[in-house]
Symmetry: C2
Subunit: 403 residues, 2 copies
């Protein structure tokens, strides 16, 4: 086979990415070990490692044992101090931002309570742009922000950066990315848009992969109920990028009205609104959208922990309806795990046991088809964190692109 020069350049870039991902997934290791594991010749590895060091993506690790650098036996590792990815989430009750370094550590985290529907598109985008500025500022002196991904609670067109339809924040055809670029001017980082639950699923997958779980559905309870599907370690976007729309499954025909205009969608049964209205009267402060959602949930949790009958019975009813939809999804997709995020995670100790029992009872396959129901450990930060992961993913796919 003749290899053309253009192919050679492309093979080199592929190999740079291979080495970088090996260090991410397997941790620090020597050039000799990398050569063994990749099957690439040692001189090639030495040259690839040199280029990754020059790009600022990896560094010589602990060399205490003999004090010298550059020896093939010494470990190299990801350098967490040079490139960063930003995730920003727009949700019903808040804006959130998370910056991750290349090693996956959080270097910036911020959440602002905001009644997004009431504030209107313009003000929300103003505040989002301001949040991006602040986040970018936090790493300006330390390194390079490779990109930012915006998470929106609805269907999105990733190619054009348009939020198509996000009923819970009242957005229809909002050119979110163009508007943010306009506000940020030449200082704008590379900006992408994705659905919030898909990004949450990506963030959860990084956690689950450590337990060898590579097929999962992330189900997040916010005002709406969102879903993200990981199959074989890959985000399942669907043929048009719309997969994971689980909040409007028609599970209660003739039930409560939904923001989408129909009745009885799953999110009317298990969304934050269902919890609040089952657990508290309208004038109760837990309904106040100007208060941060997490503090309102802490209030409800306190009541549940104290055994308040109304709160306890609201949670029991929701656990039942949550199991109904989770079992349906487990029947259709037979994942290794369903990860419950958002408010479901905040009430995991109340919900998890009855949901697991309900799922085991309902799923047609024996033992729920091997599907575990797990609480998210990332809470409300999952989508923003997933956005930061996706921004960094560009580096892992093609580190040579940083030049």
């Amino acid at each position: 086979m003749n290899v053309k020069p253009s192919d050679r350049a492309s093979i080199r870039r592929t190999n740079l990415a291979l080495v970088l991902r090996l260090l991410r997934d397997g941790g620090p290791r020597s050039r000799a070990k990398i050569a063994d594991e990749t099957g690439l010749p040692r001189p090639t590895i030495t040259s690839l490692v040199a280029e990754l060091i020059e790009l600022g993506l990896i560094r010589e690790g602990d060399s205490e044992r003999d004090g010298s650098v550059g020896r093939p036996g010494l470990p190299v590792e990801l350098d967490g101090t040079t490139v960063y990815g930003l995730g920003i989430e727009i949700n019903v009750d808040y804006l959130a931002a998370v910056i991750l370094d290349l090693r996956g550590s959080v270097t910036f985290e911020r959440r602002i309570a905001l009644d997004v529907r009431a504030a209107g598109v313009r003000l929300v985008l103003d505040q989002t742009a301001q949040l991006i500025r602040e986040a970018a500022e936090s790493v300006r002196e330390r390194g390079h922000l490779v990109g930012a991904v915006l998470a929106a609670p609805g269907n999105v067109d990733t190619a054009t950066g348009v939020v198509g339809y996000a009923p819970n924040i009242g957005w229809t055809r909002v050119r979110a990315i163009d508007e943010l670029r306009h506000r940020l001017g030449p200082q704008a980082p590379a900006l992408l848009l994705e659905n919030d639950a898909k990004l949450g699923a990506l963030a959860e997958y990084l956690v689950a992969a450590a337990s060898d779980i590579h097929d999962l559905i992330y189900v997040t309870g916010e005002t709406g109920v969102g879903g993200g599907i990981i199959i074989g370690g890959q985000l399942h976007r669907g043929a048009g990028g719309f997969a994971g729309e689980i909040g409007h499954m028609p599970l209660s025909p003739g039930g409560l009205p939904c923001a989408c205009g129909r009745r009885g969608c799953w999110e009317t049964m298990v969304g934050l609104g269902a919890l609040l209205s089952l657990a508290a009267d309208p004038e109760d402060p837990v309904h106040d959208p100007s208060l941060d959602v997490e503090s309102r949930l802490v209030d409800l949790r306190r009541r549940a922990d104290a055994g308040d009958p109304r709160t306890v019975s609201a949670l029991a009813r929701i656990a039942d309806d949550l199991a109904l939809g989770v079992a349906l999804l487990a029947d259709v997709l037979n994942p290794r795990a369903v990860v419950l995020g958002g408010w479901f995670a905040a009430f995991a100790d109340h919900l998890l046991t009855p949901v697991r029992e309900g799922v085991a009872r309902r799923v047609m396959a024996p033992d729920a088809g091997g599907c575990e129901v797990l609480p998210s450990t990332l809470g409300f930060t999952a989508p923003a964190r997933g956005g930061a992961c996706l921004a960094l993913d560009a580096v892992y796919r093609d580190p040579g692109d940083l030049r």
Copy 2:
């Protein structure tokens, strides 16, 4: 890189499979063209082609133009006369068998009306074994039956060959493959078990792939409603092999009793039983399980075509409920197509328009997320045909294994 002898043998087998699949997917072509397309050296292709010819899997194509054989410019093509795959389906009302040759042409097809639940496990397995014998006999003098795959309407353990739970035929923990092997004795072909709708999806995918559709959900209406999911051209089996269990989605809480013991499952709304009971009184001959299901459906079709109000209104109601579940699945998975099989396909000209309208109206993404609703063109033979495909797949994955 050093390539060990064992690696070389394995690379050769991989390359044999590569060439064979290229001829399947791309049609007849010359050795020179194969070399170009695979990037493998011409002498390697010449040797691989010679081995595939020796294995009886491919042959020199049309050589009329100069009468000689073996020239690099002459096309080679799949040989449809040497190896065969058998699919057998056990369903509520019938047993079916299909044999395909390597080119995907049907060389044997048979369906036997049988009330499987009433007949009992033993008699059904006796008759299935007899059907396998007849099918195998049909190719005995012509070539080699590489394997047989049994399709069952329920969840199955492919590793042990046990039908776990198939409520519509009343089977629980039936060791189907062992029992068939026992009945067939040393003459038994290699036997595997798979869920019927998954096999149907495989068969449908071969049709859909020609229209560049690589993500689809196959939804088949029989007594039960089964599903098979193809993602990126691959059958999605799920973490435990149970994916595609769509018949028991709880879409009508408190609705009609289901064979699974619950109420209101989707199959009580759109399965064959729903059609029959909505369209005809119990004493009507269309309810007689001793008559072949296809002839009973022909009877009902005649009524629908003649505008019989009861039949027409039954179909309208079912179209509505079919759209409900199809839209849910399209929201969750966002496939490029949903293919309707079984009785839905037999009534496609009555169902398709209202189902498409209902799906477009219900799916959250614009234009149903790009998802088309298509009728199966394979009808009731899809699972048996998919079984035959899967049996042949072993040859496509590792042709060297035929030695």
